[in-house]
Symmetry: C2
Subunit: 568 residues, 2 copies
């Protein structure tokens, strides 16, 4: 298209509330505009990129025989009561009433709607498996919308739901989606890791998050470059050091540690490593006190603790000073020795320690030479966050930690929804069985943001070819020079004739402005037509590097085709 006719409102400055590159560049390059907090309108360039991402998703999912449908955003309350989630969703769910007072929500997700469709139409194992998906708007009333498309309230999502007759079928469906997701995110130009994830409020038996590695990601990911292990920090396990303790276990004794209630202070005071001091954290769960004992250099993992206590993080509260004194201890000096009426949970690494330190349950006193099994007992389990340098739980290689943007997630739902909503089928024996479900999401607008995070420099976006809104931009340096303009139009037409999406920048602007805009909006190839057009020479430049080459107009078409082929 001719740029003079295009609506690409580029800006020199990013808006004040934008903190990260993808947000700033999305606005500056005229891809989108905010309507109100967390709600965006996508302008022509942004929509083209979204359409390219959607088409990649469609191609890879259709390849797996998944079928696209399109559901309503309006969902009646009754469906969500069947799945017992109407109240669970809380304030994140947009709710409304129709003119007759019937309650609806704007779908934050579509398990109920898809389950409802399938239970009405499918009743025999002969019709299974089936995998249906849609690409559609989702609504979540985030407490703090921010980071542009990374946390918005109306966003575009691809959600797929598989229905199988047995676990083996679910595993196959899940693996196919896993495979498709990898291809999709690779085609989008992302550096991704599939990490084991907690299943959260959606529930179910297994889950992977597809994470685009990025500094601005909201999650910490531990991953192994030797094997395929990767996990969200909340879920990550690690292999214990194979430590044989040869130290003789000494007798526990009380020592005076005035005003040294913090691990850091105590470590300095004692001249001991933090890993030699055990940290006691006391919580109140359902009115009962629980002490978690971990090494002083570790962080407690609340998800692992919650899973052990068969509850969720929100229901675990720190014990008050009163609670602690009530249990016969002293805030700042808590320890597991001789502590009654408190359940003791002991991290695996504590078991490997000898003669370590803990609080003495008495103000200004700690205990030294404490030994698990000798001085106190408790249940041993993994209670701590893995960190960079811990060993991979599968292969023992050292793990790395990076931040990631969640762009996709797979869940094995099992029969959670099919049981609650009677989504059943008759199996080969004529028995009525619940279908085995999986669900699979991709944040389409998030993916766009993740692509910009990975592919930009200080001048603007550098679109990977396949998602680029246009592949080539043709710039006549002086649009009043007839020879330049004619050559530009010829090149524009010939590139379009081979099926390429091309922009001709015919605007009445200085060349510098045109180059800046071309860099900002990130078109992969730039062809500049200047004075040397009289010698049949044009400039060829790829957005991803700084090389400018003069090439003959005769070789241009081939050169562009080579670039396109190489990148695809």
């Amino acid at each position: 298209m001719y740029m003079s006719k295009m609506f690409i409102p580029t800006l020199k400055e990013a808006p004040n509330d934008s903190e990260i590159a993808s947000h700033k560049l999305m606005i500056r390059a005229g891809l989108a505009r905010s309507l109100t907090s967390g709600v965006y309108n996508y302008l022509p360039l942004g929509l083209r990129v979204l359409d390219n991402i959607k088409n990649i998703i469609r191609e890879e999912l259709n390849e797996k025989d998944a079928q696209e449908i399109l559901c309503s955003a309006l969902q009646p309350r009754e469906l969500w009561e069947e799945s017992e989630r109407w109240s669970d969703y809380g304030k994140e769910m947009f709710r409304l009433e129709d003119r007759n007072g019937r309650a609806f929500c704007l779908g934050p997700t579509h398990e109920e709607v898809f389950t409802n469709i399938v239970r009405r139409e499918i009743n025999s194992y002969k019709q299974l498996p089936i995998n249906l998906y849609q690409i559609q708007n989702k609504y979540r009333d985030e407490m703090r919308p921010r980071f542009g498309l990374l946390r918005s309230r109306e966003f575009i999502m691809k959600d797929a739901y598989s229905f199988d007759k047995d676990e083996a079928g679910l595993n196959k469906s899940y693996e196919e989606m896993y495979d498709a997701y990898g291809k999709i995110f690779s085609r989008c130009g992302l550096d991704w890791r599939a990490v084991l994830a907690d299943t959260g409020v959606i529930g179910g038996a297994g889950s992977h998050q597809f994470m685009a590695l990025s500094e601005v990601g909201e999650s910490d990911i531990l991953y192994c470059n030797n094997c395929s292990y990767a996990a969200d920090k909340e879920k990550a396990e690690f292999m214990l050091e194979n430590q044989v303790c040869e130290e003789v276990k000494l007798c526990c004794e009380k020592i005076y540690t005035p005003d040294n209630s913090k691990i850091e202070e105590l470590s300095t005071f004692l001249g001991e490593k933090r890993s030699k001091i055990a940290k006691s954290l006391v919580f109140k769960v359902n009115g009962k006190l629980v002490l978690a004992l971990i090494r002083g250099d570790r962080e407690l993992n609340m998800v692992k603790l919650a899973n052990e206590l068969k509850t969720i993080e929100e229901y675990i509260e720190m014990a008050s000073e009163e609670d602690i004194r009530g249990a016969g201890s002293e805030p700042g000096y808590i320890g597991p020795v001789n502590l009654e009426n408190v359940e003791i949970l002991v991290d695996r690494e504590i078991q490997q320690l000898s003669n370590f330190y803990t609080g003495a349950n008495e103000k200004n006193y700690h205990l030294k030479n404490v030994n698990f099994g000798v001085d106190f007992k408790g249940k041993v389990l993994d209670l701590v966050d893995a960190s960079e340098g811990d060993k991979c739980p599968h292969c023992g290689n050292l793990m790395r930690m990076e931040r990631g943007i969640e762009v996709g997630q797979l869940f094995k739902l099992g029969t959670k929804y099919s049981n609650l909503m009677q989504c059943n089928f008759l199996n080969e024996k004529g028995e009525n069985m619940p279908m085995i479900m999986g669900c699979y999401g991709i944040g389409v607008t998030r993916t766009l943001a993740a692509i910009i995070e990975k592919h930009h420099d200080d001048k603007g976006i550098i679109w990977p070819l396949e998602v680029a809104p246009y592949k080539v931009i043709v710039i006549p340096v002086n649009h009043k020079d007839e020879a330049q303009m004619n050559a530009a139009k010829d090149i524009y037409r010939s590139l379009r004739s081979i099926g390429l999406d091309v922009i001709l920048d015919d605007r009445d602007q200085r060349a510098g402005v045109k180059f800046k805009d071309a860099d900002l909006i990130g078109i992969p190839l730039r062809i500049t037509i200047g004075r040397k057009i009289s010698e049949g020479i044009v400039e060829y430049k790829e957005r991803s590097n700084d090389n400018i080459e003069e090439i003959s107009i005769d070789s241009l078409l081939q050169r562009v085709q080579d670039f396109i082929v190489k990148k695809n």
Copy 2:
């Protein structure tokens, strides 16, 4: 795709609440399913048809340099207060609040959002004209959702908005959209008329509705087959009969007409044509009484009346019996003669009558030999509905009346929104001027329904080629016969290789079931492979007629291509 893997839940019976063919067939052919009243989920076949319609729309609009964007469905109250429509929209607008109590609506239309985008980005005449569109979900809380996709609460619409620097520009933008709409609806296989329409609540200076002619349409359309005149009955004008009255005007006299207050009764009682009796209708508007006098064989047109009274229909109420007696008249016997304190509006045709009848404002009495200008006065104007057989107001040809489904509408908005929302630009002289706007809608889901209404028979849908979800269905009569199945697969592959969307019905079903489904879902071409495959013979059948031809497999590809080319 192989039909055994496809989700096409066809049904023998239509749902109880379906009254019209498009609704019944949409459900029976597995195109869509209702989630709740007026809210639909589109299944794979339905979505494919919608995508085909959307692509036709895109192609024709892009051809006019309109640019696609995508706006949010969530719209903040503040924008609607700027345009003074937050309260106007009433119960049809779905409203909701976010977690902080801020009010939003689900967009029933997008004038405000588009005006807001353009006013923020465009400020010079150099950037005009611009025409932006989107294809997106709209929400209107209809009082009585019915007729499937013809009146639903969540529906897909294409809405475009043009911004021009002057009226001439608006007229050009409007004409381009008019042209594009004609092409779009013709490509969709509809028999359409562009009718002059009332501008209703959206406001503005001119409007056309694109109507798909159909018995189930909600509007009556008067149109002339001699010239291009067509108008909604609410808006339709007609040419007065060129009647020269040669009757001598007689003196008005009172006659006894006991118990004959209805026109029909009176006509029988008097032995006179209904057109010789004038019908008096009394209304109350803003506390004032108004009498509308029309010929007894005509229907009052409330829109014309409302326009004359500079109000809207909703504010016009029938006068009560008490009101009528208070004005010195008598219900059932009202007339314009000697009626004081009531404004008299007189239809044009009354002026042409001589010696007609009216009520005498006295119980059981009428007046005969009444003459306008002699016995009473009043403002003369067009107050009645046009009907079949009236003369075209442009060329005088007799008009026809048919029902139509509104599938598109064009509005000249002028400066209504740009004034209220300060959507201004600097003109060539540096003056700040409001942009001149137009808006242009197409009901995408309605278009799908209108296509089915026009293209079906008692067996099912007959898709026009361009919108058909698949172009060809290949049916092996006996899927257990290896030769048939292999030939079917070969044909399937060869048709796909030339870029056609093809279904292979590989299901374990009797041939009769397959034929019925193929007819129901309306695939334009059916290729049947039976026993004669051993002689290289297959059956060729077009859905739109009953001819079944045996053709050689060698000529099949060419035959299919001829069909596709002919139809396109």
